[in-house]
């Protein structure tokens, strides 16, 4: 596996990127989800004229503002890292990422930023209708921002609609529509946004539970719980459906990721899904050791998830690494040979161009194009390097799914008790409800761990491994900036938590 290689600088750069992305993702889900909850709260105020709904809206809007301000521009740090730590990658994808990111800035961010000012400062300064419109625009703008970022991420998981320019060493956009409508981009967008809506619901339920436990702001808490738990319940179903679609896409486009998620080493027909399992940590690809010390499987479910057919074959890690001619699966060693041929053809093409030999250049370019889609494999030293870190992916996926199954149940129980007006006496439930925020964050972060760790060693699937994407930097340089970020981002998160807790303690405006 790639972690066993001596890649100190690249691993520091990966750790730095993971740290920044994970801190960024502390703020993003709450922004995406709470913005829509605010829009619903304010719509109730607009429709009913009940000032209690205005009080509810203004309170959650304050917490939204804290989160928005703390999270603002944390994504920019990732872009700084592209230029410094990942300059090869940054150069290669510049033309592809340029379009979605420019659209993101031009439309989504400006919508979000412009209407945020009206939403936050415009109470009693603009009409009720325009204020409501602004709140909806903030919600739509925030989520459109996420769309373009996930389009870019989807392209890295499933690169389509581009051609590699061998003179400039970069991918050039050929078909923006296929980039935008990539199945991976769509399923990831649906899953990331719906899980963010669910997370925001958990946040509202959790903070409201705290008020109920302290017998404060009971009316606000009950109203908030009813709306948030209903919202959470509805979006839980979309989380499940979009998660299923993402797994189906993985089976087709990133089968190694799915195999790692399930720790499936030997491919099977009618494969079962592991509900619980303890991995045998000495298990390696190609050996005959058992995969699990203990496991409970749901029969046929993995085949159904991967192929929508109960008795279908799901390839395992060994099939994908060593090949399975019976199933027409090409092994990584064959792909390494083709990848090296692509690198060799690229080198010969460049030499022919320098020697002013266009006929030879064309011939080598043609040979390069034949093997271009295997380019990344040419950088692997052994077939086993194409396998991601199985325990991290396997356990992260399990924990995410288990938590993701608990959340809709929590929403359902909260909704029922709040509608029946019996929520105020449920001390146990309310105390457990306080855990929904940390557990929601855990599930949300682990979703990204599965998505990103599951596609290792690739920065761009099958085309560019992370160690080639990285800049030629000394490990100590990346190490230094890692610790600079650790301190700065730690301080930012601490400031966010302090301000947020203070605002929660202050509570809503007095009537």
């Amino acid at each position: 596996m790639i972690e066993m290689m001596d890649l100190t600088a690249v691993n520091w750069a990966r750790a730095q990127f993971a740290l920044t992305a994970m801190v960024h993702w502390i703020f993003v889900p709450l922004t995406l989800g709470l913005s829509f909850l605010l829009a619903f709260f304010e719509t109730f105020y607009y429709k009913t004229g009940n000032p209690e709904w205005k009080r509810v809206t203004k309170f959650w809007m304050r917490l939204f503002a804290v989160n928005f301000a703390a999270g603002l521009a944390t994504g920019l740090i990732l872009e700084f890292q592209f230029g410094t730590n990942w300059s090869n990658y940054s150069w290669m994808v510049g033309d592809i990422f340029g379009a979605p990111l420019a659209i993101e800035v031009l439309f989504a961010f400006f919508i979000e930023a412009t209407f945020f000012a009206v939403m936050f400062f415009g109470w009693n300064r603009v009409s009720k209708k325009f204020h409501l419109f602004s709140t909806w625009m903030v919600a739509i703008g925030s989520n459109l921002s996420a769309l373009w970022i996930l389009v870019a991420n989807g392209w890295m998981q499933h690169p389509v609609g581009m051609v590699f320019n061998p003179d400039l060493g970069r991918f050039e956009m050929q078909d923006i529509l296929s980039v935008i409508t990539s199945p991976v981009a769509i399923s990831h967008f649906m899953h990331a946004t719906s899980s963010s809506f669910l997370f925001a619901s958990l946040f509202v339920i959790s903070v409201s539970s705290w008020y109920v436990l302290r017998k404060r702001h009971l009316q606000l808490a009950r109203k908030s719980i009813i709306v948030a738990s209903f919202f959470g319940l509805v979006f839980s179903s979309i989380v499940i459906l979009s998660g299923d679609e993402a797994a189906y896409d993985s089976a087709k486009l990133q089968p190694m990721k799915l195999a790692a998620m399930e720790a499936l080493y030997k491919g099977q027909e009618s494969a079962g899904l592991v509900a619980f399992g303890v991995l045998n940590h000495s298990k390696q690809p190609g050996d005959d050791q058992p995969t699990f010390s203990f496991d409970v499987k749901i029969p046929y479910m993995l085949s159904l998830l991967a192929n929508r057919e109960l008795d279908s074959f799901v390839p395992g890690i060994d099939d994908l690494v060593y090949g399975n001619p019976k199933r027409n699966i090409e092994g990584v060693q064959e792909k390494i040979v083709k990848g090296k041929a692509a690198i060799e053809s690229l080198s010969l093409y460049r030499t022919a161009k320098k020697n002013n030999n266009p006929a030879a250049a064309q011939e080598h370019l043609k040979a390069f194009r034949n093997n271009e889609s295997y380019l990344g494999f040419g950088y692997l030293e052994s077939p086993e390097q194409a396998v991601p870190h199985v325990p991290i992916v396997f356990y992260s996926f399990r924990i995410m799914v288990i938590l993701g199954s608990i959340f809709p149940l929590a929403c359902l129980v909260y909704l029922y008790l709040a509608i029946k007006d019996r929520i105020l006496n449920q001390k146990w439930l309310l105390s457990l409800g306080l855990l929904l925020v940390p557990l929601g964050y855990l599930a949300s972060q682990l979703g990204w761990v599965v998505t990103e760790m599951g596609r290792q060693p690739w920065a761009i699937q099958n085309i560019l491994p992370v160690n080639v994407a990285q800049s030629d930097l000394a490990a100590v340089t990346v190490q230094t900036t890692f610790f600079v970020f650790l301190v700065l981002l730690g301080t930012l998160v601490a400031a966010d938590v302090c301000i947020m807790l203070k605002q929660i303690k202050i509570g809503p405006e007095e009537k």
Partner: protein, 60 residues
Amino acid sequence: MTLGKTLWKLILIKMAILFFVLKLVFFPNLLKTKFDTDMERGDYVVEQLLHQAPSERSSN
């Protein structure tokens, strides 16, 4: 201090650190710093692609 003032202060301090410390001191755009033209940058990246195949790659 009102919430609005606290948040503005947080945003301004963060932006100052981002653009005047991190970007200028720690995070230059390497290819833009090293090379003047896109052709030079492209050449450099392709050379990196050609020379990082396993037989020639040196560990960091």
